[in-house]
Symmetry: C2
Subunit: 336 residues, 2 copies
Amino acid sequence: MNRTIRLALLALLAGVAAARAEPLTIESQGSFFIGGKDVKSDALSTLPAYAPSGTITVGQMYVHYQIPVAPKGPPVTLIHGCCLTGKTWETTPDGRMGWDEFFVRAGFPTYVVDQVARGRSAIDPAPFNDVKTGKTPAADLPPIFSAGHEAAWAIFRFGPEYPKVFEGMQYPLQAQEEFWKQMVADWNATFAPPNPTVPALSQLAIKLGGTILISHSQSGIYPFQSAALTPQGIAGIVSIEPAACPTGDLKPYLKIPTLVLFGDYVDQSPRWAPRLKQCREYADAMKKLGGKTELIVLPEIGIKGNSHMLMQDRNSIELATWLVSWLNRNIEMKKP
Amino acid sequence: MNRTIRLALLALLAGVAAARAEPLTIESQGSFFIGGKDVKSDALSTLPAYAPSGTITVGQMYVHYQIPVAPKGPPVTLIHGCCLTGKTWETTPDGRMGWDEFFVRAGFPTYVVDQVARGRSAIDPAPFNDVKTGKTPAADLPPIFSAGHEAAWAIFRFGPEYPKVFEGMQYPLQAQEEFWKQMVADWNATFAPPNPTVPALSQLAIKLGGTILISHSQSGIYPFQSAALTPQGIAGIVSIEPAACPTGDLKPYLKIPTLVLFGDYVDQSPRWAPRLKQCREYADAMKKLGGKTELIVLPEIGIKGNSHMLMQDRNSIELATWLVSWLNRNIEMKKP
């Protein structure tokens, strides 16, 4: 009964938030880069108009931010997943408010990144030009890839296979084309682990003097890897449908309030069922060690129909409202 | 004298605007894509984890927007140049307010794009993977390029050659590293003209029911090319240091209020001097035809020291203030 009332209240709050929003007042907004290094190259260009030799800066991570007038909590940092960019967290495909704006309205300074070598974070063209000019063999081309709609359909759990739809699934499929436009080529397989976004997130967390890292899918493991580098600045971790949960030495994560969150239909997904199982093992191990870790599968608390892209599902604002409530219960809300 | 007083007033206004800004209230913000098409491919991936065959969507243009509470003019659309993204218009390398926010504060609904195949606008990985798998020869690789710092130095007119600096040059060189991080690889040479961003800008202009297209450098010519497709929705053109001005049939541009704007040191630049000369010929031809076209070289109206990246120069807010004043004098300010 208590849970029913709480869910009804959350739904009400979400309904209010999802209604045509009042004007938004922010203290400040802007963007900057974290990390990056200068690289000398003789393969910047194969065009006469641009010199092949010179120095470029790569490895930096683009960060956009908005600060509310009276912050109620530490900054949140939103980290997108595979084949996507920071756009993940902005306006949903069907035109509703994104989590980037919701968190600002909820009083959190909000930072949205483009992973290194994605979106507004530069890639290095030299390995491609070295092949074009015959300096290196074709097989040495970086293994970049895009996820096709058909394969992505099951990965994002819109249904068991393209184009079947799970019953009650909450993704706004009427605006599916707008989602496909969000997908970009992915450079991550060109990096040896840990992905360079991991130390960049560490640097960002330290710069901000504390932030809650909210990651998704491919980036799900990154906040843990950042915490293993240094716990400094990591006020909390929310790992949404991570591709993997930590194994091995769990000590670096013990003191960090952590939520691992999964949506619906996971058991029907050959891709995601084993990942949830592995995350359950991690969460159980953390519990035994006394860590502040919680794993929640949404249908188990009565929230049904969520796809892998739950920040864009029809109940995305309800979920964000629920998440803010979780943050309030589990993370120190005084401004650091 | 009149001009001196006007410039002093503008400097004062700019000083006020550049001071620590008051909180910003906006009616709404968000992002969406324009254009794009589905493409079937068998070369999406060379990795076992991702299927090579499938459909992806490419050719779309990412658009981010902010709408002020009480708009005073038509929307402005900010279009970046070569080797850059929409970041061009955001926070300057030395941390001052970007034109994206300035225009919102000045009352203009403001749209910032990432050109097609740049930033958050997807590229197609297939031509690279076709070479990697040996299906096509290495010479067929798309001619992508990055501009090295050394060559970019003269192109952006920080000085005559790297690392010499023009006397009185206003670019914030103390934050130069942050600018280098903005630069990304450029796919534009992979497209036959007109660049796909051109029809996307037309579609955006029509969708908005009127917008002032503000382009820069590589994209300088795009608004004219969009106008040649259809004048519909193009309320004005501000072409900042365009790589080229229109030639041939000038009729499509006659009724569109147009400003072509150049900074300082142009005559000392072998790259830019001929471009300015060609734009002067275009502006003279437009004048003879009775077109609403003005070409302004900033030092000729007393504003000195501007580089090619004038929207990031130390006097960027003074320039934006001047530009708003030009828009007010030359473009219908009633909301369309």
